[in-house]
């Protein structure tokens, strides 16, 4: 490995480090450093870097945790950040160190603060002189405390500065380069969060339960705390098991619809029909689950799941066939079919009777009662909840099996160990299966209240696997991707575009249809029946999920989990009086908007030339020339580029119609 002659930071890296450090330093001064306690209405006690405490809570007398060590740490971090700013301006090579130190100081401050609050909580719990209700209130008051924007920005800015500084070293540059695919989604999320913050600042008045009037300065602190509160609440579900399970439950249908949209995207088709396909899938699952032969017992379940898949596939195939045969746009047709599906849905479960040409006919599908809903599913057609499935502690104690966790661990370890061996993936998979089976009866004791997360999550995982294998390991997948990248070239290569279009839409519909199993067989609508409150809008969220996941199975999974988390977290935001849960919908829309406008990131950043070219060109931050491609770059190049949907759609139309003209 040759070393770069210029040991200074590249201009781009220096600019990133400068921005991150400067923003973090300003944040330390402008925003509250920490929250020392938070009441039920999100009323905070705020600590500023100067040591000033602003108590806006309804608890004016609550003793606050000691903050002695946190403040000096904050000042030290500020000093380091300022040094980083100077270093970044001079493009000094040591910036990574000061950035990293600032981040570490920030983390230490957060931990110390957490300890102080923990001591208060323990003290309250031990204090028997308090009324139980008041004790609970006081405990959640301290538990609501923690870092605030000041410390958060310090840690984040420090880490970004460190990363930008480290990019000077070839090994780190290589490592960071691998994360380049995350750049557009990450920037989109950040921008969406930023715009969302502005929305919150505008629509939400400051929380002040103390009754003392706010000066402009304390008013600003309270306002900025709102932003932190909203986002920390949205992302809070990852910190505890119960909300985490709830997040997984909300993520499950998103995985299905996300895969559906992504699958069509890969073939150059835009599937806006996931809501309709989901609806038809759910209706079919219900029909089989309620009216299937009871004698089948548990055999009814696979039949019902297959029916859901078939229903969705049919609803997806219609626009596929129409496009292949007549060249009519799948975009419009899928939208129209959404409305048709919704009409069928309401027709079936909305009423017991309907009139046709003046005569009244009866419909058997609606159950008794005021609410439009179907009959309950037969016992055999219900998916068990995941907790039931994984619960190995039979005698009343709740204990989850350690199997999946051990399997995951085994997979990761073996995969890393066999990275350079052929068939390493298969070996790792085998090891994971073995480890999982061996430890299935080993339980981890946990406290879970019970969750409606059901086995359709496992179906979703299977679909992720199916998507990956089908798309990247089979000839059919190769053909589909070829159609997506260039229909014309694919046609010349002997691939039937019409067949690809129909197949892709059918499979996309199947994925979306399977989401119906989550709602109907899985009882995610609180009952094992088809109900009118089925949130079909998850079909549209699938578009956001697919875009954010860059149309890869793993990406769809990650994006679904993110959306599931903020959907769960949005319940907590309701504590603020003037804000509606729809702030989450706005955030999702903004994420799509900013990803769509990914062009604002320079092409040099998102899609750089291969390192060999860059090195010969002698560009600032390029990795040194290496013989051949490094494994990671080769992997990057193997990854299929994403098709441009509209363009592909257009050419696709030309090609499919070519035979007819």
């Amino acid at each position: 490995m040759t070393h770069l002659s210029d040991s200074r930071l590249s201009p781009v890296a220096a600019r990133i480090a400068l921005t991150a450090s400067a923003v973090a330093a300003a944040g330390l001064l402008l925003f509250p450093l920490a929250t020392l306690g938070r009441g039920f209405d999100a009323d905070p006690v705020l600590l500023h870097l100067t040591g000033a405490v602003t108590n806006l809570s309804a608890n004016p007398d609550a003793p606050l945790p000691p903050t002695g060590t946190v403040l000096p740490l904050g000042w030290a971090a500020l000093a380091l950040l300022i040094v980083s700013v100077v270093g970044a301006l001079r493009r000094a090579s040591w910036v990574w160190l000061t950035g990293l130190l600032a981040a570490v100081l920030g983390i230490i401050a957060v931990v110390l603060l957490g300890q102080g609050l923990g001591e208060q909580t323990a003290r309250i719990a031990a204090d028997t002189s308090l009324r139980p209700g008041f004790r609970r209130q006081l405990r959640s008051f301290y538990e609501g405390g923690g870092m605030n924007l000041g410390l958060f920005l310090t840690v984040l800015g420090g880490l970004i500065t460190a990363g930008a500084g480290l990019s000077r070293f070839p090994a780190w540059w290589e490592r960071l380069n691998r994360l380049r695919g995350l750049l557009v989604p990450a920037v989109a999320i950040s921008l969406a969060v930023l715009v969302g913050a502005v929305v919150v600042l505008i629509v939400q008045p400051a929380v002040n339960a103390s009754g003392t009037p706010l000066t402009p300065w304390t008013g600003w602190l309270a306002k900025s705390d709102l932003v932190y509160f909203v986002y920390s609440t949205l992302f809070a579900p990852v910190t505890a098991l119960n909300p985490l399970l709830e997040s997984l439950k909300l993520a499950t249908p998103l995985i299905f619809t996300g895969l559906s949209v992504a699958f069509a995207f890969r073939t150059g088709l835009f599937n806006i029909g996931a809501p309709g396909q989901l609806t038809i899938g759910a209706i079919m699952a219900m029909l089989v689950g309620v009216y299937g032969p009871a004698s089948l017992g548990w055999g009814l379940l696979p039949l019902s799941v297959l029916a859901a898949a078939a229903g969705g596939a049919l609803w997806g195939a219609i626009p596929g066939i129409l496009k292949a045969r007549f060249g009519s746009s799948e975009v419009i047709n899928t939208i129209m079919l959404n409305y048709v599906a919704s009409a069928i849905f309401i027709f079936l479960i909305g009423s017991n009777t309907f009139t046709f040409l003046g005569r009244e006919y009866s419909l058997p599908f609606k159950a008794e009662g005021f609410e439009p809903a179907s009959e309950e599913l037969r016992e055999g057609a219900r998916l068990p909840t995941l907790l039931n499935l994984l619960n190995v502690g039979a005698d009343g104690t709740t204990a989850l099996t350690a199997g999946p966790l051990v399997a995951l661990l085994a997979y990761v370890v073996t995969r890393l160990a066999t990275r350079r061996t052929a068939r390493g993936g298969l070996i790792a998979l085998g090891a994971a299966l073995l480890a999982g089976l061996l430890t299935w009866r080993v339980g981890i004791p946990v406290t879970v209240i019970g969750s409606q997360l059901n086995a359709s999550f496992l179906i979703a995982l299977a679909c992720i696997g199916l998507f990956g294998v089908l798309m990247w390991r089979t000839a059919t997948g190769y053909a589909l991707r070829a159609v997506g990248l260039s229909p014309r070239a694919a046609e010349y290569g002997g691939i039937s575009v019409a067949r690809g279009t129909i197949l892709a839409m059918t499979l996309a519909g199947m994925f979306a249809g399977l989401a119906g199993t989550h709602y109907v067989n899985g009882g995610a609508l609180d009952e094992y029946r088809l109900k009118a409150n089925m949130p079909v809008s998850v079909g549209f969220d699938g578009i956001a999920v697919a875009l954010m996941g860059q149309n890869t199975p793993a990406g769809v999974m990650a994006a679904s989990l993110l959306f599931g988390t903020i959907d769960t977290g949005s319940v907590g935001v309701q504590r603020l009086e003037n804000i509606s849960r729809d702030i989450v919908v706005v955030l999702k829309a903004l994420i799509v908007l900013f990803i769509a406008a990914g062009g604002f990131l320079s092409r040099r950043v998102t899609d750089p030339p291969p390192p060999q070219l860059a090195a010969t060109g002698g560009g600032g931050n390029a990795a040194p020339a290496t013989a051949g491609l490094t494994p990671s770059v080769a992997a990057q190049e193997r990854a299929t580029p994403n098709p441009n949907v509209t363009l592909a759609s257009e050419t696709n139309k030309d090609v499919t119609q070519g035979g007819n003209q």
Partner: protein, 304 residues
Amino acid sequence: MDGLFAQLLTTAFLATFIRSVVPLLLTGLGGLFSERSGVVNIALDGLIIFGALAGAVATLALEPSLGSLAPWLGWLAGALVGGLIAWIHAVISIKYRADQVISGTAINLLATGVPAVILTALYGSSTESPKVQNALPLWGIGELRFSPPVFFALLTALVTWYVLYRTPFGLRLRATGEHPGAAASMGVNVRRMRYSGVILSGLLAGTAGVFLSIGNLDSYVRNISAGLGFISLAALIFGQWKPLGVLAATILFGFLQALSITLGGTDLLPPTLVQALPYLITIIALAFTGRSAGPKALGKPLDG
């Protein structure tokens, strides 16, 4: 059957019919400007919602001071907000060369969330605004009394035809959508034409929204557009991207909608299924007209 025809020949049906056509026509003509300039505008439904919301909010805010003048300014506000949101679509798809369908879908997603946030912040309800005291006035005789956007819509259809085929602006707009390269070489500012087309679509779709919120009802309610934007888009394609074609197509779809509203009260057909009729007809119609070419450069970002 006699009963049905008697019902269809009433002035009440005629009024329902005209009220169903108007928002479709305005939005469809808006979409026409956008798509003739070469930008797919799937965001029409969202633009209607934003227009409706802005119209109602502005009227509510101005009522105490301006009285019966308020809805007129509300109309202006609705149109302008529609234009503003369309401008965002234009920036993303023209400046950043993003996929136009995805950008439009993002705007539609935005339209499902933003109104709730604004309504909650302003009025404490996430589903509807308070009722306005001064809706747009109704002009006409007997049962045939309509708010001004109705007359505006009919006028717009004629003006659109004239502008598109009889003015230099229309010629340039059509050229931009058909062959941007050629248009540019003749000195047409293609970007500016596309921006104008998209923003015009926002102004018109916003007006359609204003008609829904303060011309037809007297408040903004959640999901007020009920998919009208998508039907107008279908009408636009059905009408072969021509002003008179759009007029004819929206009359057809408007008739079907009015029919489903009227039939909803009778025992002839299940109303839910009649509501699905316009969508089914669209699918079938698209199968036969899908081959008819729209503007050639539709959906393609500019090179360079």
